[in-house]
């Protein structure tokens, strides 16, 4: 039996306890149920208009597109499916920049300046850096010590050449929720496009593209108990936001994203969005209580625990804390019964301190002593309590060993 099958047999609610829900979430069984028939019996290529298998697949995809749109108050024609939030972020930034360069509006100023927070996800920052190499300019805006954007500072950074502002809706490492409606109003009043990376926020907190004046929003499937390998980009139609595609070819997704649509994955994203919408308020309440209890218990057990990021403007299931006199990597090794991380999964294998925590003003030492705990839909109170015990014990062991991890 392969490693994957072993993991499946034990999953979920077994050791190690999964507290890494910002990295990826387990698939909701109801999503799985919706997807499976479209892997097997309904396998038609949705772009095969010549036969019933293809047309049925496309009809189901359109229903899923509607579910995604509904959750953010958008029209389904404003949703483009992608392979995930990373691609959506790349498409949003590069697509908008490339369109602006290819189609300068007559008589008006060149728009070649982008603004992003220093704490944005790597895929946003890497995209803006790539655009800088192409001749665009970028401003990387510092955040407050609590992780929130300073709106006055943002307003001051916008120039008459600014094309787009990109601010993450809810942060993947520190869970901080930015004031999207205020940022949106500011961007709209200055004629600047507003993009948000909502990979962590979509399905977890209320988002409304009208109220928040959003022009572009990146969405992920596997962060909301949906499948990996699928995401979406919301692209405003009125007033119309124009992009050049990253991936061209068969002309699928109204020319904005070519390639055969993965029917089961699109359906999974749609179902996950519908479930998130229906259960958001109750789930948020439960996760907030669970998170607050975990945080309170942990603080009681580990004196001098320090919180990273604002507690009030925060995803309900997220906590990010710095432990005294330990390193995060030593703690993770000393606590194999809890699956947790130092930060973003994509960079968690690296030894560099989190650039996000550094941007909050944390010292390298404190950043290196920080752990992200992400609770999710399937986390139980018993698991949260067990995790506190296991982490607190591991902290003592590492501290007593002088910061050197004990084996096992």
């Amino acid at each position: 039996m392969s490693a994957s099958n072993v993991a499946l047999a034990e999953w979920p609610n077994t050791l190690p306890i999964y507290l890494d829900n910002q990295s990826s979430t387990p698939l909701d069984p109801r999503v799985l149920e919706a997807m499976l028939p479209y892997f097997t019996e309904h396998f038609g290529n949705p772009h095969s208009e010549s036969h019933v298998y293809g047309r049925n697949a496309m009809a189901t995809i359109e229903t899923a597109r509607g579910e995604v749109a509904r959750l953010i108050g958008a029209d389904s024609r404003e949703i483009v499916f992608t392979s995930g939030a990373t691609e959506a972020n790349n498409l949003a930034l590069k697509g908008a920049a490339h369109f602006a360069r290819a189609h300068p509006s007559a008589g008006s100023k060149v728009r070649d300046h982008l603004i992003a927070l220093t704490t944005e996800h790597k895929c946003v920052l890497e995209s803006t850096v790539a655009l800088q190499r192409e001749g665009f300019t970028a401003t990387y805006l510092p955040v407050e010590p609590n992780g929130l954007v300073d709106l006055d500072r943002l307003a001051a950074a916008i120039t008459d050449r600014t094309l787009l502002v990109s601010v993450m809706a809810a942060h993947n490492e520190i869970g901080v929720i930015q004031p999207l409606a205020e940022i949106g109003a500011l961007c709209r009043s200055r004629g600047v496009l507003f993009h948000t990376d909502a990979a962590q926020a979509f399905g977890k907190i209320p988002l409304d593209v009208e109220a928040m004046r959003l022009d572009l929003m990146s969405i992920s499937g596997h962060k909301i108990y949906g499948p990996k390998g699928v995401g979406a980009l919301y692209i405003r139609r009125r007033p119309r936001v124009r992009l050049l595609p990253l991936i061209d070819g068969g002309g699928q997704e109204r020319g904005l994203r070519s390639g055969t649509l993965p029917t089961p994955l699109c359906i999974g994203l749609g179902r996950a969005a519908a479930l998130a919408g229906a259960e958001m308020a109750e789930e948020a309440r439960r996760l907030r209580e669970l998170r607050d209890r975990l945080y309170a218990n942990l603080r009681r057990r580990v004196p001098d625990l320090q919180l990273n990021g604002d507690l009030d403007h925060r995803l309900p299931g997220n906590i990010n804390v710095s432990f005294p006199r330990v390193t995060a990597s030593a703690l993770i090794q000393a606590c194999p019964s809890v699956a947790m991380s130092t930060g973003s999964a994509c960079t968690s294998a690296s030894v560099e301190p989190s650039y996000v925590l550094r941007a909050l003003g944390l010292s390298d030492d404190r950043a290196n002593a920080s752990i992200r705990l992400g609770l999710g839909r399937f986390t139980t109170a018993a698991e949260a309590d067990f995790a506190v015990d296991a982490i607190a014990a591991a902290v003592s062991r590492v501290q007593n060993a002088g910061g050197i991890p004990t084996s096992g």
């Binding site: 499946l8 290529n45 995209s127 850096v129 994955l265 991380s341």
Partner: protein
């Protein structure tokens, strides 16, 4: 009423192989992010690395060279845009995802049989000294015609060019050895060989440097960012292994395809099998019947439960004749009346009989009348 349904559009997408379905179901229950260091993450990482081996083995490549992407279209883009060559040459019969990746690419002409003219290709390649990238598909998705890719690769390398081969349609249908082909970059798609949609790979051989198209968390060794599509990769793994094992089954499929063509031509001697003189994939036939438009044919067949297509799925909703048939010098009349019938490993003789019955009825109802009218 339980009407018979016959799926003969395997080049658009293949049904999921049972092995792939099992692997996907298992992986869907697994939540780890392969980049996470904890146990769930490490188990996910092992699945990804194991899949790299199966996918590489299908085409005789090196696992380290496998870059997982979202599908064949993205693989083609990454190859052409990431290959780092200013000058790009593509054959005129390439998939639209190659043609659109670099719209300014120089076109390499094909003959009436759909095969790249090697002499003209070499002349074209040497007339400009800039380092180039050449992209020619292994087998065409619409006609099944197999290109002389080993020769094309040798010519490309002789003149310092990189060679990209889109093997999306060929993989799993004919044996492929990337070393023999001499391709530096090879595109693969899982759902064409019985894996899930939404996953593909670009195989990078040798030292070819790749500039990433999708940037971010540094996954796939910096060549393609984004959390890995674990179920997709697991399904690709199982499908690639099953496809490699199932290659010998294509002798049977070739016989079915040949039998279909023979029977059809016996009924309608005026029908034209496109690329019949060229080496072709064993599962594909493109047939023109000038008296009935392709659109009318596919609708008539669909009404009777037979699923085929009028060309590539992605462009089947568009108006205008196939660029592939046009590049072969076939007129608009032929291009507008050609359907593609593509078979797969579970296609049976009964499927072919059903197709022939329905097709013949359609022909007698509409097509033969056209011939009679024309003859009159």
């Amino acid at each position: 009423m339980n009407r018979r349904e016959t799926y003969l559009d395997w080049n658009a997408t293949a049904p999921l192989r049972p092995e792939a379905a099992a692997a996907i179901t298992a992986a869907l229950g697994h939540c780890g992010n392969p980049s996470s260091v904890h146990r769930w993450g490490r188990a996910a990482r092992r699945m990804v690395e194991q899949a790299r081996e199966a996918v590489a083995a299908l085409v005789g490549g090196d696992p380290e060279g496998v870059v997982f992407v979202s599908g064949g279209t993205e693989a083609n883009h990454l190859a052409l845009l990431g290959g780092g060559r200013e000058r790009v040459l593509v054959s005129a019969v390439e998939h639209s995802s190659v043609l659109q990746a670099v719209p300014t690419a120089e076109r390499v002409v094909v003959g009436a049989d759909g095969i790249v003219d090697l002499v003209r290709f070499e002349e074209q390649l040497v007339c400009d000294p800039r380092p180039a990238l050449v992209s020619v598909m292994l087998a065409n998705n619409e006609t099944g015609v197999i290109e002389p890719v080993a020769e094309i690769g040798a010519i490309a390398h002789r003149h310092g060019a990189l060679f990209h081969c889109d093997a999306v349609q060929a993989a799993g249908k004919i044996p492929i050895d990337v070393a023999e082909i001499g391709a530096d970059l090879v595109s693969l798609s899982a759902h064409k060989l019985g894996g899930p949609p939404g996953i593909g790979a670009l195989i990078v051989r040798g030292p070819a440097e790749l500039t990433p198209m999708i940037r971010g968390g540094g996954q796939e060794r910096g060549r393609r960012a984004g959390s890995e599509n674990l179920p997709g990769i697991a399904g690709f793994d199982a499908a690639a292994a099953a496809a490699a094992n199932g290659l010998s089954g294509y002798d049977r499929i070739r016989e079915l395809r040949d039998g279909l063509e023979t029977s059809l031509l016996a009924t309608a001697p005026e029908a034209i099998v496109i690329g019949a003189a060229a080496p072709r994939l064993p599962n594909t036939t493109a047939i023109a019947l000038l008296t009935i438009s392709a659109e009318t044919q596919v609708i008539a067949l669909d009404l009777d439960g037979v699923m085929v297509s009028a060309g590539a799925a992605c462009s089947s909703g568009k108006v205008g004749p196939s660029h592939v048939l046009e590049a072969m010098g076939l007129g608009a009349e032929i291009a507008g009346s050609t359907i593609r019938v593509s078979l797969g490993w579970s296609t049976t003789e009964a499927d072919i009989d059903h197709f022939l019955m329905v097709w013949t009825a359609m022909y007698r109802r509409i097509g033969a009348r056209g011939t009679a009218a024309r003859a009159a």
